[in-house]
């Protein structure tokens, strides 16, 4: 649950910052199938195999050319929360 909270915390950061740049140590990801929701996630997620698996799915769909600019993860939002809530 702590990790879900950290995600929610990240969203709070988002509400304060504009879309220009994420806070230090974070990056934006756009999650969802049709509607994309913007999340800020810590950079450390990039080295986690389960997060990399989500990125591979996105590579299958978009190649490396992400339509939103930011990394786009085309999975259902609850899958994303499920995966990221297990991350350290």
């Amino acid at each position: 649950m702590a990790l879900v909270r950290s995600l929610l915390g990240a969203k709070k950061i988002l509400s304060r910052s504009t879309a220009s740049a994420a806070p230090k140590g974070f990056l934006a990801v756009y999650v969802g199938e049709s509607q994309k929701k913007r999340y800020l996630v810590p950079l450390s997620y990039l080295s986690q195999p389960s997060f990399q698996a989500l990125l591979s799915k996105s590579e299958e769909e978009f190649g490396f050319d992400h339509p939103m600019g930011g990394l786009t993860i085309p999975c259902p939002e609850d899958t994303f929360i499920n995966v990221t809530s297990r991350l350290q």
Partner: protein
């Protein structure tokens, strides 16, 4: 008549000339001397194995005519693995010298022959390795080569790397693109493929919102990619994603370079040669303006940094955070990037004033996560 007419600038400070260096995922040489002036090189790795390669060779361009002096610059952007780009870096320049020696001069034909024979020899290697390493059939590379000699610059290109000339004009500098590119997302490249394969309705397929040849690859010409050149490789044990559903007789991709020849004028200041990893983030004019407005020392690294800053902005993150990302996953943020800036120094000939022959190879070996 072949007569070199440019020489290195007078008063060149040797102390400015730096060794090649590696800093994390970046390989660079901040400043060096080629036959007609200075140059700067930089590369950065994003893939788990660096697939870009590059080289600069300066000095005699034939084995038998010492008056044919010049500079050869190569940028090789590999895909599917590093083997094809490495093969080009090992082979294309000696082949160019061999063909140039036959006619004792550089010409468009000499350069095209060097491309053709490099491709042919790579495909021979693929055939030889097929029983033990069949995936070599799906390895390929773009090949951009520039030859500066006799007051001319030849730009030969197979694939989607790019060469841009900076030409001074009314207080500024204008970008003049010298290379012709072969990428299915360019109208000219699509028209060419459709006219070469009029009876194949799936020669170009839109996939992931981008045009791809047979739905698999964006470049429409390349070195290697044996599976798209010879039907004998279009079978098991090649991975299914590279196998085409139907038989083909005519090669789908060709290794023929598009060659442009430009006579250099005193207004021509420099040429930027780079893999598409740079050009997806910087426009021709942006790159040329950066070079024109900055010191020569480390200019290639400055261009790299400008491209990475753009990449970070697109991904809505900080540049300093982007630089921390490991190769492999880093490919989601930018491609391998190679950039070489070659300054041109238009001075009259002075005999025996050549810079000493030079040979620099970039990009191998670099960091590997495997």
């Amino acid at each position: 008549m072949v007569k070199p007419c440019w020489r290195i600038g007078a008063g060149m400070e040797r102390s400015k000339i730096n060794p090649t260096k590696v800093d994390g995922l970046t390989w660079y040489k901040d400043l060096g001397l080629h036959t007609f002036g200075e140059f700067s090189m930089a590369m950065i790795q994003a893939n788990s194995v660096m697939e870009d390669q590059c080289q600069i060779e300066s000095g005699p361009l034939t084995f038998n005519n010492p008056t044919v002096q010049g500079t050869f610059v190569g940028v090789y952007d590999g895909h599917g693995g590093p083997e094809a780009s490495r093969f080009i870096a090992d082979n294309i320049f000696p082949k160019l010298k061999k063909f140039a020696s036959e006619g004792r001069e550089i010409s468009e034909q000499v350069i095209s022959k060097a491309f053709a024979e490099t491709d042919k020899d790579f495909l021979k290697t693929v055939t030889k390795q097929w029983p033990t390493n069949p995936q070599m059939a799906s390895v390929g590379s773009c090949c951009l080569a520039g030859v500066i000699c006799n007051g001319l610059v030849y730009i030969a290109n197979t694939g989607d790397s790019r060469a841009v000339l900076g030409r001074s004009e009314r207080g500024g500098v204008r970008a003049v693109q010298l290379s012709v590119e072969h990428n299915a997302n360019l109208e000219s490249a699509r028209q060419e493929l459709w006219s070469l394969h009029p009876n194949d309705p799936t020669i170009l397929v839109m996939k992931h919102r981008l045009w791809r040849v047979k739905g698999v690859i964006q470049v429409t010409r390349s070195i290697g990619d044996a599976y798209l050149k010879r039907a004998e490789f279009n079978r098991e044990p090649l991975l299914p994603k590279f196998r085409l559903p139907e038989h083909f007789t005519k090669p789908i991709l060709s290794a023929d370079p598009s060659v442009t020849i430009t006579r250099l004028s005193p207004q021509d200041e420099f040429i930027i040669l780079a893999s598409d990893g740079l050009w997806e983030h910087l426009s021709n004019q942006e790159a040329v303006d950066i070079v024109h407005n900055s010191p020569r020392q480390g200019i290639a690294r400055r261009l790299l940094k400008a491209a990475l800053k753009e990449a970070a902005k697109k991904r809505e993150m900080r540049y300093s955070d982007l630089t921390e990302i490991h190769p492999g996953v880093r490919r989601h943020f930018h491609d391998d990037i190679t950039v070489i800036v070659v300054y041109l120094n238009p001075h009259p000939v002075k005999t025996n004033s050549w810079a000493s022959p030079l040979s620099i190879r970039g990009g191998y070996p670099m960091h590997s996560t495997s």
